[in-house]
Assembly symmetry: C2
């Protein structure tokens, strides 16, 4: 009986801790946030205040609205076609291009056969954002970001590489400890696909991030 009692006491403490965690996340969710519609409405007002002949500003405003609309929509989805993720990535990169001008060069190298494959949403963009933020931004002459998605032995090989700053002499493993973005992505890929995020030095400079995905289509969801 004492054994049961001890285990029960232990269980109750664990339950308390879990309740505490659940309560905390409920509190966080209750924290009022700006309603996303406010962003879209305001971007509309701003767009309307732009001179009629300034098509470029209006286009940038529209792309900003598009990227946020997409990231909101897909946060409800489990899986979406790679094609949709690439369209979103292109809008995102058009906006970054406006900021970096000629310092940022982007290359897409995507096998048409994988465009319909399903992928967890918002998996590529944080990796590209990371490459721009930590690779290209600190380098005066900028650099290139390469997004490659290919079929490889019955799976999909995703590679996001840049010719940016890189890690110099440090080991790439340090990046997983430091960067929340990379660690989150690695964790998502592990949970979702039981695959590893490989971080390697790019040649001659910068970083290369690769991971494998199963080939999933709308007919054979996880």
């Amino acid at each position: 009986v004492y054994g049961y009692w001890l285990e029960l006491k232990h269980q109750k403490r664990k339950e308390q801790e879990l309740l505490q965690a659940a309560y905390q996340s409920e509190i966080n969710a209750l924290k009022a946030q700006m309603h996303p519609h406010f962003l879209f409405n305001t971007l509309n007002s701003i767009s309307a205040s732009v001179e009629p002949d300034n098509e470029k500003t209006r286009m940038l405003i529209a792309k900003l609205a598009d990227t946020f609309r997409y990231s909101l929509q897909v946060s409800e989805e489990e899986l979406i076609p790679i094609e949709d993720e690439l369209t979103f990535l292109a809008s995102y990169l058009d906006l970054e291009q406006e900021r970096f001008k000629s310092r940022l060069r982007v290359l897409f190298d995507v096998d048409d056969a994988v465009r319909g494959t399903l992928i967890a949403p918002m998996l590529l963009q944080p990796l590209v954002e990371n490459a721009i933020k930590h690779g290209i931004t600190p380098k005066a002459i900028g650099g290139e970001v390469n997004i490659s998605i290919q079929r490889r032995q019955g799976r999909v090989l995703v590679r996001i590489s840049d010719t940016g700053l890189g890690v110099g002499d440090k080991p790439t493993s340090a990046l997983l400890e430091k960067g929340i973005g990379l660690r989150n992505t690695a964790l998502r890929i592990k949970r979702l696909y039981n695959e590893e995020l490989r971080i390697e030095k790019n040649i001659p400079g910068g970083l290369s991030i690769t991971f494998l995905l199963p080939i999933l289509t709308t007919d054979e969801k996880l």
Copy 2:
């Protein structure tokens, strides 16, 4: 012993459910989102693309950045001075004013003595947004939103009222069941201050939302 065993089994099931909930919220947190810096960077690019003489568009872009910056910053805070919340509310309302033009009139009636009082962040803005969205928007001639904060018997009385659509013949209690925004605010006020959110019909039309806060200053935090 059987009693212990049953309770232990029950505890273990509860723990499973709680673990599941905690896991789900971890997954949600892991869902990659657009990095907020991207919004600010892009608003900067857009602002730079605006003609030099179009001061108004640049001002609107700056206010949009301000409101988002504030809502991000205070999401980490427990309590902030009412003054800061009012500055934020003014920026937010300037942007809404641009959208609604003369259809929206805003009146602030704030006792200077309460400006330093501490309040949970983002408590007023969702109520004002609600008044605009459900009260003013559906009414062709628009209406007035009144934000009143006064000292009342050793406490702070907050009142957000509008002359908008109101609820007609329906009871105001229906709003708490329907509107997620109002229900969240009511829940926050209950949890934080153990106070009720009162929803009443405004005279001659529209709604009036009131609640009481304790007077807290930086020297005597909760």
